[in-house]
Amino acid sequence: MLIVEDLYANIGSQEILKGINLTIGAGEVHAIMGPNGSGKSTLSKILVGHPAYNITRGKITFNGEDLSGFSPEERAQLGLFLSFQYPVEIPGVTNINFLRAAVNAVRKAQGRQTLDAIDFLSFIREKCSFIAMDESFLYRNINEGFSGGEKKRNEMVQMLALEPTLAILDETDSGLDIDALKTIAEGVNKLRNPHNAMIVVTHYQRLLNYIEPDYVHVLAGGRIIKSGDKSLALELEEKGYGWLESLEKV
């Protein structure tokens, strides 16, 4: 589904990714772990086409398409979704209007039927119920005055509504208490099926107790320095970053 080959990228003069190779198949969940500044968020943003980063070498292929010619909105319409680490606030724009615009833009691009206001309401209510989000959030402005946890929950509603082929969760667990974490994980697991895939970016092993990964990759210094199954996450938890750094030097 997703093939990242020898990817180098920078922002300004700073090189952040230094040769990433990653292959993700349908139905798989990949966890990407690593310390701050290792390039986890950069990789997430580059996959969805953030204009601030320059790709200097390498290639990203998604379902057979070379993504280099695709704008951010086209990538979204192809089924790429990023749950932002820091979701932005948009004053004056209600969640429900935003969600409907997004869902219908994606559906239209995919040649699927768009939803009218009434159908959309029942559609989105169901998605809210999956992650125990109060419906009143639909009528609030996007992320305005939301707590950290509420913002993350809002990202999950968007994800469930957009039904992406590949969802990237960038530190969705940060700022969440354990109950919220469980609820969100349940919602995420609802999306899992043999046809789509997920990248879970996280600092901690905690989230992976609830969203079980098929593969775990350790990112450090802009490179994937180790890959394994979920036991790698546990090992990492136990041995800490010092162990990582020694790996990096090898």
Binding site: P51, E73, N97, A101, A102, L162
Partner: protein, 481 residues
Amino acid sequence: MANQDQLKSWLDKDYEHGFTTEIEVESFAAGLNEDVIRRLSKIKNEPEFMLKWRLAAYEFWQSMPHPEWSTVKFPKIDFQAISYYSAPKNLKDGPKSLDEVDPELLKTYAKLGIPLQEQEMLAGVAVDAVFDSVSVATTFKAKLAEYGVIFCSMSEALQKHPDLVQKYLGTVVPFRDNFYAALNSAVFSDGSFVYIPEGVRCPMELSTYFRINAVATGQFERTLIIADKNSYVSYLEGCTAPMRDENQLHAAVVELVALEGAQIKYSTVQNWYPGDAEGKGGIYNFVTKRGLCKERGAKISWTQIETGSAITWKYPSVVLRGDDSVGEFYSVAVTNNYQQADTGTKMIHIGKNTRSTIIAKGISAGHSSNVYRGLVKVAPTASNARNFTQCDSLLMGPLAAAHTFPTIDVKNQSAQIEHEATTSKISDEQLFYCLQRGIPQEDAIAMIVNGFCKQVLKELPMEFAVEATKLLGISLEGAVG
């Protein structure tokens, strides 16, 4: 950054309403003197007091220097190069129904998306359409007459209700008020007149669509709205204009009078030709709009969406003379390319317990300049006066400018005045967030802009909200919820 380019293409959309209607026009030759004013008054068969007032205004105007205090810049206007009267010729006798209206004109309205017939049937909006200087179609007269509401052209009001006109005309904006008010008083061609009798809630929104058409014809509208005791009226004013190379002057005067317990809601969507991308052409919109809360418990509310004109220079104001009276001003001013806007409001508190609210949103893009200029004045008599002011500016692109000049003049210690101001940019992160959700760039910008203006847009009557959101390039917001 790529976003800036895409942003620019959205901003560079051609003016959609740029077309000209071919209708025979009977015009005066260019030039202004006493004789022109006498001829104008005679054509309109005006009562003697009107001619006298016009001539007095003209005499005073001649003694006035052109005002230079604003930040707007434009070449000196040659007032002798302007024609002061033009009328759609074949409508001279006045149509009895829409069937008699020039088909070309109806087509013009259709292009603007405001077919009269449809409005009549579906929207229930009475329309006093102004095409150039003479009213061409007035609808729903019968229904309004049932309630005793008078809604007609100023020319007709001068024939049928001269006493009312004489009693109120110039009482809110005297001809000595300012240069363009004096000029308007001398040469105004037509406009709308509204009278709502005591205790009547006007059964429909009253609406006027303006359109400047003939080449080099200044348009001098004069509107007078009187809401008698405990009455209510909502008035809609909207306008678009064809594409022209020459600058066209528009110097209107709008006067509102609200008596005891009366409410007037005045909404404007202004979409005149703003000039081309190089700043060539476009309308000069120099308007004096003022409301008087004359008696106790009166309320006047201005809502304006200003997207057009090369230069917008106007300050819809409220004089809060009656105790417990309320003034409101909700404004969105959008400038792009080389447009200039110097707009805001004045809230003059004179009565006790008077309250005012000002919400002004300025959006500037391209090389444009957007100024909010406001005055909140509390007289010694205005005990417990309250004002809340919020001015927000949104900048799009690196070359646009936004300025805020609020003046607060308080002469009574019990007054409470609050002022908030912000300046922001559409952030790349906001835009990217929308794009990542699959929303196309153009829709995303429209959505963010619309959100920024929401506090003002929600003050518009439904009929207008749709057009206003369209003007801001919005497709979704407002359709849901």
